[in-house]
């Protein structure tokens, strides 16, 4: 499968971000309802908070929650460069660019992750 390329470079896409997150990998995408396309997925590996076009900090422990239609109806930019992707989480090979989207809901789990005392 092929996703059409855009005309942006990576730096240009970064500069476009006011308050956002860079995601480099994810897993465990599951649907609440196939009929609505509502899903959540868990970012893993390189994940960074961006403010005013600047990478501020590496981030852990988040989840993306959205619907496919809303998310891909909010594309702001697509990159010129594309890469082939096929791995554990992508069974159908896709030639794909970087994609910048607006307005995605990000959540985190209740609790700090530390084992309880005692």
């Amino acid at each position: 499968m092929e996703v059409g390329s855009g005309d942006s470079g990576y730096e240009e896409m970064l500069a476009e971000m006011k308050r956002g997150l860079i995601l480099t990998s994810n897993w465990y995408t599951r649907f609440k309802n196939y009929r609505t396309g509502e899903f959540s997925t868990v970012p893993r590996d390189g994940t960074y908070l961006v403010e005013s076009g600047e990478v501020r900090a590496p981030i852990k422990g988040i989840r993306i929650s959205d619907s496919l239609e809303r998310m891909f109806s909010s594309i702001r930019l697509l990159s010129k460069d594309r890469e082939w992707v096929e791995w554990w989480e992508v069974e159908t090979p896709v030639l794909c660019p970087w994609v910048l989207v607006d307005g995605v809901t990000v959540t985190k789990a209740y609790g700090d992750g530390a084992p309880p005392a005692g």
Binding site: S25, G46, L68, V85, G111
Partner: protein, 839 residues
């Protein structure tokens, strides 16, 4: 005994491996046959009969492990396979930094045969169909009293079969087992006005066809449908905040599987699954650590009679036993195999299983559950809650790869006030860390129930009976095929296909398609920057399509031999003729096509063994140079050829190749980076840059912190992330998914479904594509299909049947039941299920 004819091959394999110098050798004959039936919105689809059998060899030589598998069962092939397995292991020895060994577990000699009152052997497709039709009619009848709620979309699959194994090891194990299973999977989609709710149901046990009555399957699905209607009619806004929750068995089971079973798998803890299923928030020193309240008690038990994850001896020939994972809030034991027990110096508890002959055994759960407690009923538990939510069933769920951050979205869920349920609430989300969840357990009821599930793990993720029970396609061989397989000569693909078409013609079939798929896969897996196993899997499978008088049937077989194929087609034909006419049948075009052999594949990948270690070293060295302290991953080289012959004169073949690197780099537990290189040829393959990407992210992720607050964000997705989500958009373009009501794109043809900049195209055979086919499974030419153009939905993916129903042309994307992306879904699999397996 059905395995009798194969035993000597496995015994020979182990003797030969030892003669050639293996320190440890293990051979496994594994497979079965079975029958599956699918009902879509009340319409029967063609039944599918599967037959898959093969041999796997695993050896350790010089502290390095080799694994090979093939379905070509002859002494000469097994001799070659054994020698190659040792060669593979030796070839990786320079990159083995952590020597692999087996512990001194007592191996067993045993026969395990699960009893069946009504044998699954030769399960009549008509009987499977009648079970599904009864369930379907009960569900439809509910609509008349449902106050406007409709359940127009109903997918149901019933399958019955048996899994058979013969395992022998060089240190004395001999296991012969036969586990029959029945499994049901369904998706119900209910609608009311613009609202929708969806329920996935999985049920299954080990045993015979009596399971259907034993679990009251028909009543059970009807009850679920009734609940779904109530959810859509009555559920109100869910309360939010920090409050008490009561988890029903379905929820406590999934939580036990995801956040106790998985993080306590010793191979994850030791980093061996680092680049795939992930690692663990626990370390090897966590035994005895408190991770929950006194009431947190969780176990995994493969010995429960009738359970779907039933196993008395594991696939390393060690007796399975119940494992107490958490006892009174403390980690009691991990799930172990012989290798991890050897490294950790603890007692092995027999948790090693494989999901098929072509997969190595790895640590798997069986039946994982919260131990029963003191409360007699759920109602008694509810009385303890002043204000909260009772989650009885769930839809969406997931968890991070260290098993700390999990989410379960409720479907049937009730508000609790002053100890009683007061009404249904809509889609409450429980999003919580593992220690807080298990640290908050206050009580457990005595009621213990099991659900079936499938769990994916390993490279080229494969589901295994596990978790809350589980299922795999599990098939039973006929004795006569077994005999024939060894005695007959192998045939070349075109010869085999033509022979099969001839057999079907002699029997009287109107239409026949034979497709032979030959796959040669080489793989090196690594963890902690050390190769853990080198593999070679050589498979030859056939897909058979028969039609007669408007009836259809599909078969999938791993028997490339003449007599076996003849038997298989005779069985298919007989089964087909017992069926009524199929309303969805569409005749093949009268004149077939000829496809010239096309080969864009890289011939270097035909013999990739010598390349693997070099590529792995380049990737690991690059990651470490960029800052990684350790790495994990897999390198795969695959060459696949398809050969087709049809009764209408279609003839063709094509071959494609690919080489894939998946590398994950770590600097500490929370600091990791990911890199991929995927190419159709060695020319475009870049293991070094992929390693550098992984290594540099692992360095930058040091001291990662929690997000200050939740909310809406701009998201910049790498190609890896965007490809995950957009490949799912592609799957939703399948006409089958649209007809089944399991696609959000239903009713949106010609409408805007994405931003103007988005173009999405499915390619059958574009130059450089990682999955190139010139023809689909109906012998129709593949092509490029614009699915979304400028954000507007332009096409769905069709085969001949869906195209006729939609009054359009096929897009050359058959799968014989379901059109699929890139035409790869040739096994007539049930696509919806792969979006919902546990991990």
């Amino acid at each position: 005994m059905l395995l009798e004819e194969y035993k000597d091959l496995a015994d020979y394999c182990v003797r030969e491996a030892r003669r050639l110098g293996a320190e440890y050798a293990e051979a496994r004959i594994h497979g079965g046959t079975g029958t599956g039936f699918l009902l879509k919105n009340g319409e029967p689809q063609p039944p599918v009969i599967d037959d898959s059998f093969g041999i796997a060899a695993r050896v350790i030589v010089g502290g390095a492990m080799g694994f090979s598998a093939t379905n070509l069962l002859s002494k000469e092939r097994v001799k070659d396979l054994t020698a190659r397995t040792l060669k593979l292991a030796k070839s990786s020895s320079l990159l083995v930094k952590e020597r692999i060994g087996m512990d001194d577990s007592k191996t067993v000699k045993r026969k395990v045969r699960v009893a069946e009152k009504e044998p699954v052997e030769g399960a009549d497709p008509n009987w499977l169909k009648s079970v599904l039709l009864e369930i379907d009619s009960r569900v439809v009848k509910l609509e008349s009293r449902a106050d406007g709620v409709k359940i127009p979309n109903r997918i149901m699959v019933a399958s019955a079969g048996a899994e058979e194994k013969y395992i022998v090891t060089s240190d004395g194990a001999k296991l012969e087992s036969r586990v029959p299973r029945f499994h049901y999977f369904g998706i119900l989609t209910a609608l009311k006005g613009g609202d929708t709710a969806q329920r996935m149901i999985q049920q299954g046990e080990s045993g015979g066809l009596e399971i259907v009555k034993r679990i009251d399957l028909v009543d059970l699905v009807e009850t679920e449908a009734r609940s779904l209607i109530r959810v859509l009619r009555e559920a109100e806004k869910t309360p939010t905040g920090i409050m008490d929750v009561v988890l029903g068995p379905e929820l406590s089971g999934i939580a036990a599987h995801e956040s106790v079973g998985h993080p306590q798998e010793a191979d994850r803890i030791l980093g061996r699954e680092g680049a795939q299923a992930g690692e663990s928030y626990l370390s090897k020193d966590s035994l005895g650590t408190k991770v929950g309240s006194e009431e947190a008690n969780v176990s995994d038990d493969p010995t429960i009679p009738h359970s779907n994850g039933y196993s008395l001896v594991d696939d390393e020939g060690v007796a399975s036993k119940k494992r107490r994972l958490i006892v009174d809030g403390k980690i009691s034991e991990f799930l172990q195999n012989r290798s991890t027990a050897s490294i950790l110096g603890v007692r092995n508890n027999g948790s090693s299983r494989s999901s098929g002959f072509d997969r190595e055994p790895i640590i798997r759960m069986s039946n994982t559950f919260v131990e029963p407690g003191d409360y007699a009923t759920t109602e008694e538990l509810l009385k303890e809650v002043k204000e909260g939510v009772y989650l009885k069933s769930f839809t969406e769920w997931n968890i991070d790869d260290k098993r700390l951050n999990q989410r379960y979205t409720g479907l049937e869920a009730y508000r609790i006030k002053d100890g009683e349920t007061t009404g249904l609430v809509k889609a409450p989300v429980l999003e919580i860390t593992t220690p807080v969840l298990w640290g908050s357990v206050r009580g457990r009821s005595k009621r213990l129930e099991f659900e079936a599930a499938s769990c994916g793990k390993g490279t080229r993720c494969r589901a295994s009976p596990s978790g809350l029970g589980g299922q795999t396609p599990c098939w039973e061989p006929s004795g006569s095929w077994a005999v024939a397989r060894r005695l007959a000569k192998l045939m070349a693909p075109d010869e085999s296909n033509k022979f099969g078409v001839g057999v079907a013609k002699r029997l009287g079939a109107d239409e026949t398609i034979l497709i032979t798929v030959i796959a040669n896969e080489r793989m090196a897996r690594f963890a902690n920057s050390s190769i853990t196993v080198t593999k070679n899997v050589n498979e030859s499978g056939q897909v058979v399509f028969l039609a007669k008088g408007g009836r259809r049937i599909i078969g999938s077989s791993s028997n490339p031999q003449r007599a076996s194929l003849e038997r298989f087609i005779e069985l298919l034909y007989k089964s087909m003729m017992s069926l009524p006419k199929d309303a969805g049948y569409v005749a093949l075009p009268p004149r077939g096509r000829t496809y010239k052999p096309s080969g864009t594949h890289d011939r270097k990948l035909d013999r990739a063994e010598g390349l693997l270690s070099g590529y792995v070293k380049e990737a690991i060295d690059s990651a470490e140079a960029a800052g990684a302290r350790r790495t994990a991953g897999s390198l795969e080289a695959r060459v696949t050829s398809h050969h087709i012959v049809s009764s209408t004169g279609t003839l063709g073949s094509d071959t494609s190749s690919k080489v894939l690197l998946n590398i994950r780099a770590f600097t500490d537990k929370d600091a990791s980076g990911h890199g991929l290189s995927c190419s159709a040829t060695t020319r475009g393959f870049r293991p070094g840059p992929a390693g550098t990407t992984a290594g540099s992210h692992s360095k930058r992720m040091r001291n990662a912190r929690q997000l200050p607050e939740e909310g809406t964000f701009q998201i910049l997705m790498s190609p890896t992330v965007a490809a995950n989500l957009l490949s799912l958009v592609g799957e939703f373009c399948s006409a089958f998914a649209v007809e089944a009501g399991t696609s959000y794109l239903l009713g949106k043809m010609g409408k805007k479904v994405a931003s103007e900049g988005l173009d999405l195209t499915d390619h059958g055979k574009k130059e450089g594509c990682l999955q190139a086919r010139t023809f689909d499974d109906e012998g129709q030419p593949t092509r490029s299909t614009k699915l979304i153009e400028g954000g507007v939905l332009r096409s769905f993916l069709h085969n001949l049947s869906t195209a006729k129903r939609s009054k359009t042309n096929t897009t050359g994307n058959a799968g014989l039941i379901e059109p699929g992306l890139g035409t790869w879904r040739s096994e007539a699999g049930i696509p919806v299920t792969k979006r919902c397996s546990l991990r």
